[in-house]
Symmetry: C2
Subunit: 296 residues, 2 copies
């Protein structure tokens, strides 16, 4: 199976590298040059363009920032669609709109190309270690065919349902994580403002029903004031926008998600969009701080 990979960013590069190391012939493309050169040095072939990648691959994986990026790489000039042959498979592992995903899958199907949505959770570390959670949407036969690649990239691989279901699942994941970060932020700020050691509170809460990976990982980041990404607030803000749009389309009213979206947006507006999403605790703390100056 010849594999193509488009999008060699913080997530995509280590994922592509894992496929190379697992012995797959790999054709790559990326908007900026250095990541391509690096992977070529490790044995990959430079596809030259998305189209070039598609021409030389049975399965192409995309790992891009947002919906318009995936649409442009797929259907834009020199895009994948110009290079795909019938029977090819596009596996989009980006986090994008489920609605746009379904539309793209239908367009590709007309050309005999199958598309899976397979967004991931687990961050840069999960990408590097090949331990990502992968949430897959698409037909069972194609999922089966691509399964060996998924097993190289991740651990908890769930075929959630038909096309778009992977992205819906990821939207659910992102809203749960965002609200977890907001909850832990409010708890630790409440503790600190009440004169109680937030580290002790985190420790106590980890032993009961409040226990979560967010409390463990992001709670520790908050205590250390370590907001190096990690996962950027700006991207999480984008993901909650997708969750809310998906909710509107499906008729789901998501009040808490809307609040978290607004607060992450405020964090971005304050110039903190490139910091880790755990920096939300700074905004919650600042809300609670007395200000001497005039409001307007």
């Amino acid at each position: 199976m010849r594999v193509g990979f488009v999008g060699l960013g913080i997530m995509g590069k280590p994922m592509a590298r894992n496929l190379l190391r697992a012995g797959y012939p790999l054709v790559v493309h990326n908007r900026s040059r250095p990541a391509v050169d690096q992977l070529v040095a490790e044995g990959a072939v430079d596809g030259g363009s998305a189209r070039g990648v598609a021409e030389q691959s049975d399965v192409v994986i995309t790992m891009l920032p947002d919906t318009p990026d995936v649409e442009r790489v797929t259907f834009g000039p020199d895009g994948l669609a110009e290079g795909f042959r019938p029977g090819a498979v596009l596996v989009d592992m980006s986090t994008i709109s489920p609605v746009a995903t379904r539309a793209m899958a239908a367009r590709l199907q007309e050309r005999g190309v199958r598309m899976l949505d397979a967004p991931v959770s687990g961050g840069q570390r999960g990408a590097e270690e090949g331990t990502l959670s992968i949430m897959v949407g698409g037909d069972a036969e194609t999922v089966e065919r691509v399964q060996p690649l998924f097993r190289v990239l991740g651990k908890n691989i769930v075929h959630v349902g038909p096309t778009g279901a992977g992205q819906v699942c990821k939207a659910c994941n992102q809203l749960v994580v965002a609200l977890g970060i907001l909850a832990v932020s409010e708890a630790l700020v409440l503790a600190q403002r009440s004169g109680v050691d937030p580290a002790k509170v985190r420790q106590a809460l980890l032993g009961g029903f409040a226990a979560s990976r967010v409390l463990e990982v992001h709670g520790q980041r908050m205590l250390e004031g370590n907001h190096e990404p990690g996962f950027r607030a700006r991207l999480h803000h984008k993901d909650l926008r997708i969750a809310l749009e998906t909710g509107r389309q499906a008729g789901a009213v998501l009040l808490a998600t809307a609040l978290a979206h607004e607060l992450l947006g405020a964090l971005v507006a304050r110039g903190q969009g490139e910091r880790d999403h755990s920096a939300l605790v700074r905004l919650v703390a600042d809300l609670s701080r007395a200000s001497g100056g005039p409001a307007l």
Copy 2:
């Protein structure tokens, strides 16, 4: 050490029973009779009143619904304060206001009585199995003295800080759990309304950063539509009120907690206060359901 126990409800009765089984001589009191009779049949002594319990005990544990209950049992007619001798210890394991706790501790200290706040997490099952998380506020010496009792009742015992710190920690716990339930509710409703199997979403999310005990336990309850308590929505609503009051006193602005408080309040107003707090998913689902009738 002679131990007294006041408040033999869903939580208090199994806790008192565990102390009896561990060999502690136990004097009990409860507003309603049957629980007293049951524990007397198992070897406890009926104290007749809170005062009676205090007269016969070195350490008295209270496990009551809300702040006014603890104040009445302690300082009301025939209350604990009338029976305590200097050197006695009151361990309040109820979930009540940290501010009221500090005031009560100061009043008791004038009579030579020490007070610890030691609210718990882990629910009825944790109470029965002696695996509660216990969040303790108070002076180290008294905590040390009572430690053997805590070890009978719980597993994760954290001395969080001085008087009130246990209740602050519990408020933090309750807001994190409530927001966890709200997050999982929104995620599962979003999935279902989008035509994606919520059970698959729960399974996928458990493998990544969205993993939490709430997703595991309450998520499963939501899938089964099982909202038998467990922990009653009405009591969780009360606990978030305490968290918000504590926040206001301390100057912590808790936007997400305020939203969860309001939604739990709506659940109570709809007559669902006696159901498990996981029933919040019903409210989130109903918000998203089209209604044919007039609004007003």
